[in-house]
Symmetry: D3
Subunit: 339 residues, 6 copies
């Protein structure tokens, strides 16, 4: 398949309590590498695309390990440089039944967050790329992150590289960042060809204009307003999640076009969830795959939802599935043991 | 919050097969500390109360470890003394689907069971306490346990400390004890201000008078008879459990008053159960918390049921949740990841 | 109970990814011993029967470990000999939700597969036996396996030992074997008194005659055709599995007789499945137990389905339950903790 | 090889802290099956002999698991019966450097200890046996154990079965037993053809007569006195252990004959010890193997010491080595990787 | 024993690679709680003293877990408060043979480091205390840490509480702190009654005056100079470590007095080291125990060295031994298994 | 550093028993990726060189995992193709004290072994390479392996790429291969610029001419004969290992030149060995690094020995160290904790 995808964002080390234990209930932590944009890069590499990560890590064994995990799954890490600062961490406690999962971010002062725009030579990094993928997590890390994200997205537009932006709104990070999210996200959305955002994300970006978008029913209206506001935007997609309890969700997805047309994928019922972290990233990667592969949007949306659904069955942040896994699910191959 | 709670009972070491393995299927056992009354103490300490354990353990690393776990969760263990005898153990095999969990008690000859009444200076231990909590497990350990429980409960009444008694009827223990449960439990119930008991427990205590209470529908009638029989009793509560299979229950709860009024909490559907051991103790602790905190009984019952429901999501005997976890669930905060 | 059962087939070492991880996602593999016929032998030994394994393993620690596991569960392994070749392996990745489990066979060149008929002195091995159990896996290993299976089954008929044959059709093995399944399976079915086969298995055996048996509804017709074709066949049984997703199945079972009568067991709803590998073998062993114990066929079918259902709750290939576990489930003893 | 060996004693479940952790430092315990006489039985079975265990276990999963482990290693467990009581346990904390290992016995009230002499039909159990092996642990369990051991040893002498007695003096058990060790051990020694005992064991048995045997240098004199006292005794053997620290020992062994001749094996330097529990039993089994195999005593002593030395490299109580492992070590095959 | 000890310093969470793996070689980390002063507090509590921790942790599950671990081992944590900031972490890779262990500090921005002096009401915290223990790690965290340490030490002197100061010089921390160590450490030494420091520590504190103290031989001279410089100082102690390789050290210890007298403990040879982190803290706690218990200095030094030696055999930062363990080692009880 | 190194050989999956357990003593296996030439590739990549692997794996998750591990450590795997056949495995049991480690090869029929010469376009693969590294393991896999190795080495000479050949003589593989090692190894040695071989390897290659080289003292004479026989050979190196026991070795190394000069590195004493597998490959990679970096041969030999020594401290087949680790050891930086 054609078209290199450049993913820009922070690499994180996830430290999770085993099984359904409370954090540090027993003295073991399971380490996984993650990060919203890295998750997309891994998905794309596993689906057969050329995916490159642009990031900054500290020059220590944690930074090395994170890069090693990306390489293991086929991501090009030559554009991950090292700089002073610490490794961004997050602690995860996986919930169960009626006890929600909890993420404890410990990423302040990370090498990536404090690096600003300096480490990146965007014209070189984007040469030959089809897409730049970034997310709303980077600007939420603070002023430097915001600047770095905007510079990257502008460089992509300048270079004729399409921009994919995943809103990924995390209020706790923005609170800590002491930045106002709306203007920054507005700028990033205005540079995007493809955006992942639901009615809440759009409401954050557009402020009072979108304040009325109170629930999922309003996503179509929010999308219309987004297309009006952002002339570069060609497609807007999102998932919707009904949660019966912590382990049992119903996942659906919508894809909106500039022309007002709306596609809705058949929802998937997911019970006995193993790990839902990274499902949104798996969805984004699935849709990027669909666009890179020239699928119809209808098939593409179904592919993206199937990919996101499979993510719920895989431990860790990465969606460790391949094309055949997703296509089998779409084809309704059933759930018998594959021998 | 005001009011120290003194919990009296045996500390146990639980040795459980990992995951859903049969006991000793593989050569690993997971150790947890438990015991009905210790579970209540831990819950109360985590909910912010002053909770003290009164017990006896052997003077060896197992006894020390049990005390250490209680302290870790904030329970005052200064009144846990050491004495000859062994540590009470139980082996646990967690079932799945249609294979029930199994408990293999190995507590005969424990330091607690053979200690009798000697180690406890009740007037000192109860000084300044609001409640004494004990359960039907202690008298089921044999004559000395029965005597120790009755002496403790009497000392509490004498000292103006309210008595909370959880029936916790375990027929296999009573069988081994060579004691007749009815008269002993009768005495303990007669000393209680608050009791946890369902129609079966009451039928055991009251014998022929209550023999007709055959199913859960009869609990209200059984409760009325209990209030008639035991003039000290102010409240009687119980949970009710419909089991679709080993991993999927529907849990409800009722609270009965002397005046005949009955409260029923909205049932909770619990699927994908992680560990149900200790849920009854979590319920008892929840209701004690409600009383100590001056909640309305209606809110208190909802709180206790929510606490008991959360216990099903936590591995081990202790309900490792805090006030906010329970309040979030009651408030319907939903099941999304908390970041 | 009376009647030794001789099980003939390959012992396998299963190497499985822990939990719901993808294969080698983390660097640990869990080892279990299995093999369709060995699974039956272990079930029978645990249900109180004399069960002997006839097989060949390499003379190395893997072969020794496999025999050791059988002995541990009470199977007589004196008729497992050693020969050149390797240990048959399979790698297992347990799926979840909508991601199916995967088996990667690595059994080519195994000591058993290349041993042919030479190691077995059937008259001696079958002396005093009530049943010989074998399955369609052995002939699927190639020409030598096919010959070995047929020789064994013929020896049993000659010795007046009843033959139980489980179709266990594995198309990937047959493909690798370069053998045509139909004539070989036809011969084996013609020697069997009891067969486990559904409409697909029968269609494979009978070829065009049975080509119309497209779905589970046709199993009764397929069974009728099988009884017509195979005069030795007295009973034919199979399970049927509706799969809501990877973790939630509805399992039913049918038992067909020569006289055209059909028994259907009440289906069992199995959610939160732990490990479904070996459930078919657990069913076969359950029905053999029923026949050996003189149960009515109706009770026997219920017993076999209950045994197969319990297997879904036990990690590994072996159905580590005993008579009381199965009888408790049939008796509807409920799902509370057994203390 | 010829000659069945019957081993009589208690089966124990060892629960050990992982690695070099203190007991319950982390909440995991590793389970192993052991027991002095069972260790001998497993060694002998692995060395190619027919070994049968005579014992009593409780009728629960712990007792079953213990028997299963013996069978796994080839021991005949048909003479292990079930009886009321609990499973004998011991907790193990493996030390390191200058912190000694600790064993916490928890075997009071075990099914074996309270069974007495009733479960054993010795004439039947000893039919065709070459040796009965028992140890000083059984009488140390109390009066019933002492009686059971003496009855067994007498039955062996009556049946012309040679008696092998391993002193295995455990003062903490004797203290708890409220029995006087000297007369009981005296009786057992008087029935033995082969005994394992060092100067301390002999001093305990012979009391004042042997009080002067203060250190290892006196073992030969002690042995002479033992031969004088016990006319049935043909051989007496012991190991001697110089301990540089917890992980580094120098192990030697001596074999004494009635005729006063003494053999000393070349000591072995053992550093980086993995698990020394059961080394004495491995030595005893090694010498029994030598006698059963008709080795010269010199070779036999070297074999026994090599076997005991290898035990230090194997986790658990059982000496999981085979003939070739021991012979390789004796032959000086070196320490390179065997490929 | 009499005399409460107040320990002031940061609580840390240690995340270590399992066994001898490189950091993140496999995706598991073992969590331990540590911190130089906390290690002393735990040692003292386990040796029977009243030990209280004064510290600040973040209000999250990591902070809670750290306090829980201290309570588990008997330390009073009521004076550990919560404040904004993160939990101090360190990553540990345990080396082997000729590959040194590595510590990767990740403690910048910790709640403790940024808390400054505000959270501590020293007069109240020190009421009734015999000793305040602090170390050179706290001032190495930066200006606020330095100020907090000095304020604490001054408050102790003002309150007549003796000050114990462990130099614990960590150059990498001081480098990051942008502070000059000499003047700060000078002030702290000048307030101490008891100090732990070797010739290098003293050289850092005294600068040019002590520049000539190049190796361990000079420690006595360095000590003399320290006593001259710091009139409050009564005793100065240090360990000395000869390292044959990563796993094999020879540990000795010296104790210097104002009067110029010097005690040297008999060195201990430690091979097969399990975990050396915290050995210095174990030594400090051992000497404090000796002083609190009124031992002779000679016995006290031997006790402290024995305690430090035992630490090398215990995984984690805490010296999980008790009085009897240390006394047994001093008494030369040998290395046999304690039963 | 300049110069790409192409490594040609089989990728293997190692399945090892945990700790010092016997194989399958407990039901867990630890997976590592290895293979003599892959080990060299990983070492070189970690030391900063461009290293590419040329190999063939099956198209399944095991093959993918092996490639992923190489990529993780920076090896270029684009020249690893897939082909029919299985994954080469080996089972490892790590010995202890006087029990040697055991390797059980299970690599017959592997995709690599049966691939022959077809998958490799050597001119393209070698373009721009400085060295081709291969070993005596590949020809030991059988006729096709031998042909593939010789074709590769010839292609390298033709392309002016230097050839590094590691003898790696494994008699058990050669026995299974039904090939005569001498002529094949002779051909490969004749193509090599650098060879790793000791007196035994040379004796195998040169047959009767070298039969007298009976022990390590003869290596220099053997080397002289090798230089006479093979005019392309510039350097010949080997390690020598004195084994005190399984865990304690003394490792030395020699480097021989065409001109007859001999260098001997100072031996290193390695006690408490963690994992010695791959130490020879670490040595080879160290020397290649030295040559690629333009070190003096003396420094290079010391570097290679230090690298090989460090390997003994790292679990798995790969030498997970970097330049600084090796240089620190050579510089005598000592064994204190690096903070």
């Amino acid at each position: 398949m054609s078209g290199r995808v450049v993913c820009f964002g922070e690499l994180l080390l996830r430290l999770g309590a085993p099984g359904r234990q409370r954090l540090l209930q027993s003295p073991l932590l399971e380490a996984h590498v993650g990060g919203a944009e890295a998750n997309v890069a891994v998905s794309l590499a596993r689906l057969g695309h050329e995916a490159a990560m642009v990031s900054v890590v500290p020059d220590n064994p944690l930074g090395e390990a994170a890069c090693g995990e990306l390489r293991r799954h086929g991501v090009d890490t030559r554009a991950v440089s090292t700089a002073p600062g610490r490794m961004g961490l997050y602690f995860l406690e996986t919930g169960a039944i009626q006890r929600p999962s909890r993420v404890l971010y410990d990423r302040a002062g990370s090498a990536f967050a404090i690096a600003g725009t300096r480490p990146y030579d965007w014209p070189a990094l984007l040469a030959g790329a089809a897409w730049l993928h970034l997310s709303g997590v980077t600007p939420a890390l603070g002023e430097r992150g915001a600047e770095a994200a905007i510079v990257a997205a502008r460089a992509a537009r300048d270079a004729g590289v399409r921009v994919c932006f995943d809103g990924n709104f995390r209020s706790s990070l923005w609170r800590e960042s002491n930045c106002e999210p709306a203007p920054i996200l507005y700028t990033l959305m205005s540079l995007a060809d493809l955006a992942f955002a639901d009615h809440r994300d759009i409401a954050v970006v557009l402020g009072t204009k979108a304040a009325g978008f109170a629930d999922a029913e309003d996503t179509a209206a929010a999308a219309r307003l987004a297309f009006e506001t952002f002339p570069n935007l060609q497609r807007l997609a999102c998932t919707h999640r009904e949660q019966r309890d912590v382990d049992h969700h119903r996942l659906s997805a919508s894809l909106f076009h500039r022309d007002g047309s709306v596609l809705r994928a058949t929802p998937r019922d997911l019970s006995g969830i193993v790990d839902r972290i990274g499902a949104g990233d798996a969805f984004a990667a699935g849709l990027l795959h669909a666009l890179l592969s020239g699928m119809s949007d209808e098939h593409g949306l179904a592919f993206a939802l199937a990919a996101a659904s499979l993510k719920h069955s895989v431990p860790g942040d990465f969606n460790l599935v391949d094309l055949q896994d997703v296509n089998d699910l779409i084809a309704g191959g059933g759930f018998h043991v594959r021998r």
